[in-house]
Amino acid sequence: MKMKKILALLLACSMAAMTVAGCGSSQSAETEAAETEAAAAEAQEEAEEGEAAEETIAAVPEGEGYNHEAIANAGDITLTMMVSGVAQGNDFETEQLPELVKAKWPNVTLEVTKLPDDNYYTSLKTKLASGECPDIILTQPMYAGSNSCYALAEAGYLAPLNDCDFLVNLANPAAVTYDGNVVTATRSVSILGTYYNKDMFKEVGIESVPATWAEFLDDCKKLKEAGHQPIVMGDKDQYVLQFGLYQIAANEIYSQNPDYDMQLRSGETHFTDEGTWDKVLTMYKQLYDEGYIDASQSLGYGASQSIQDFIDGKAAMTFDGSFNATALNAEGAGGAFERGYFPIPSESGDQYTATCLAAGYSIYSGSKYIDECKELIDYWYNGDNEIWDAQLATGRIIPVYGSGMDSIPNIELYQPFIDLMNEGKAFHWCNQAWPAGTESTMEELFSEMIGGQGTTVEDITQGMQDKFEDLLDE
């Protein structure tokens, strides 16, 4: 009997231990399974960015700087490339691209590996550490993700692309420029903005999109008085808080100090600085205080549920990204209505946007074929060839220049943002410049505030600062 008890005790202990030890492995399965939910979050994390960097951009293309005949003189070569994502049928990177490259240069064989995000990160780190990195790799702007171009460039893994021709087309490569060197070839964007129901706006007599924050609040008021929910958000998925906050931050913080985030790292600025995040958070909170976003409801709504409400015509606006455009333009129970997309206006009326450069391709600094890769990327990115067209046809990118722009789905929605970007009035998404985890503290504390937990704006900025320092502290 005693033996039995001891056995039972041991068994119980071991099971308890398993719950802890198991969390490494079992959670990866859980994570995987929950990917549907996380997918949207990731889209936003993958986020990419806009600009800001402190260095002056030495990206004056020299055009002739590298050997433009490299491929022709190279003989038969094999270039390797590694990207993240899940391969689709007739996948662009793994199937079409190698064929198109072969058609253009019969002596070049391009081998492309595509790995799911987590595998990609691990694989990349291992290959970099062993010096066997593929020639071309997918990198994210600034500090976004484990394959962020800043972190990789800092470690010396990325070849400078300053002499590439495609740079003449790129208005502002700051987010992919480290220490004066452009290190990632990118030419597409992701946008955060405000989707709105044009019919509902007309119904309450709003003629044009608001040009200032005061006008924006006024429009919300009109909508609310007419019995409409002005804005619907799915705050149960806390990451959606970023969609509105980053737009306001672009207007109120980065327009004043484009280097704000970089200075956070050096300690020159702090989240607690007056007139920065306190202002942004207060402005956004106003929408909840006035009931323009209904916190009692939004905190129980998921991101997909709020999209559903918007397309069902139950709310006039929602803050969301270009990555969700298809879902937001679908027809819901509200029937067909015209949709528009505008950036949240600033207090001063001087408009900026949270439109950021998307992930792009970098060349490994240890590659034997740096010039060949540059030549390949330059051809691909010249804006008018079969590779470009094939990539555009995937419908997954919004380029800022080049042919075929008109055929991009929803381009009329994006155009104002792209224009702002080309005028240099676009900024990165804040979390791209922060160590991962800072934004979740912001989201948590903001939810607490609108959920009536007594959290104040000062608590949030202090919490963000503490977390930021904690995450940078190795």
Binding site: V20, A21, E30, T122, Q238, G300, Q453, D470
Partner: protein, 303 residues
């Protein structure tokens, strides 16, 4: 009967010779490499600043432990986890036991009802969590619609968005999905109760309630222990619904131990600190389990 021993202590059993132990080696090796070794490594990583990728890490002493204690995340997540565990243990056992007793009687369509109550257990937690987030949705969710139908204010029904009840709301989902398994074990226990004992009870004049209380329950005491311990462990490792339905929110109100560890490890990329958190959780969970087991065993004897 004990196997006979030879003079030098060797085993002479014809059925289980010593060399049979060789066959344990593959399983043991597996167990050691994939289970014991990682668990021990947890202790090692908990004093480093390992970020999960870079193996060039430093030892930071007890800093990780210090951090988790000082910023309150540990206390918050332990509190949430215990609350969650209490709700799921109590409800799933009460409901499981009640349903098992009901389905152990001679009623019509018994098979159907048994299947029906076990049915939710067949779905994966992800699916259940996803469906329930629609059930709980304000305004147009299933419950909100019912509330509206009966004249209430469906729009105000928002359990997942409410700081005070979000944790209970997800615990109820766990109960809904889990009580079927508990019920099956109780049912199995109840069927071991000898009919002659019940017969004797009836002859002595027991009514059904007395039979349950004084005969059936004491006779399935060990089943109760198993069920409670299983659901305690299950409750303490709560993760799925916090992850799928609320993502730890609103605020931090549904962050359980496992969720917090996951977040520190995979969002903040602080494997070292997550390991420290795991080590602490490990001891907390072991302590709770041991106490539970001791209490239950005592109780079992008393019954």
């Amino acid at each position: 009967m004990k196997p006979k021993k030879t003079k030098n202590g060797g085993n002479t059993s014809l059925v289980f010779r010593n060399r049979m132990y060789v066959f344990l080696i593959p399983a043991l090796a597996f167990f050691l490499v994939l289970w014991i070794y990682p668990v021990l490594q947890l202790f090692y990583y908990s004093i480093t600043n390992f970020n999960g990728i870079n193996y060039d890490f430093d030892f930071v002493g007890l800093k990780n432990y210090q951090k988790i204690f000082e910023n309150g995340t540990l206390v918050n997540s332990i509190r949430n986890t215990l609350l969650y565990a209490c709700v799921t243990v109590v409800l799933s056992n009460l409901i499981g036991l009640a349903v098992a007793i009901a389905l152990n009687t001679k009623i019509r369509m018994k098979g159907f009802f048994r299947t029906a109550s076990y049915f939710p257990a067949l779905f994966s937690a992800i699916v259940v969590g996803f469906i329930w987030s629609y059930v709980y949705m304000p305004t147009s969710g299933m419950i909100a619609n019912l509330v509206t139908l009966f004249g209430g204010n469906g729009a105000a029904f928002n359990p997942l968005g409410n700081y005070r009840i979000a944790l209970f709301a997800i615990a109820i989902v766990e109960v809904w999905k889990g009580f079927g398994s508990t019920m099956i074990i109780y049912l199995a226990g109840l069927q071991t109760v000898d009919e002659s004992v019940l017969e004797a009870g009836r002859i002595d004049g027991c009514n059904e309630w007395q039979l349950t209380k004084f005969v059936k329950l004491p006779m399935i005491a060990s089943t109760i222990t198993i069920n409670i311990i299983l659901s305690v462990i299950n409750g303490l490792k709560a993760f799925d619904y916090a992850f799928i339905m609320t993502n730890g929110g609103p605020g931090k109100s549904t962050k359980t131990l496992m969720f917090q560890i996951y977040e520190i490890a995979f969002t903040d990329q602080k494997m070292g600190r997550a390991s420290a958190f795991s080590v602490v959780s490990f001891f907390v969970i072991i302590a709770i389990t041991i106490v539970m087991l001791i209490i239950m065993n005592k109780r079992e004897v008393e019954l």
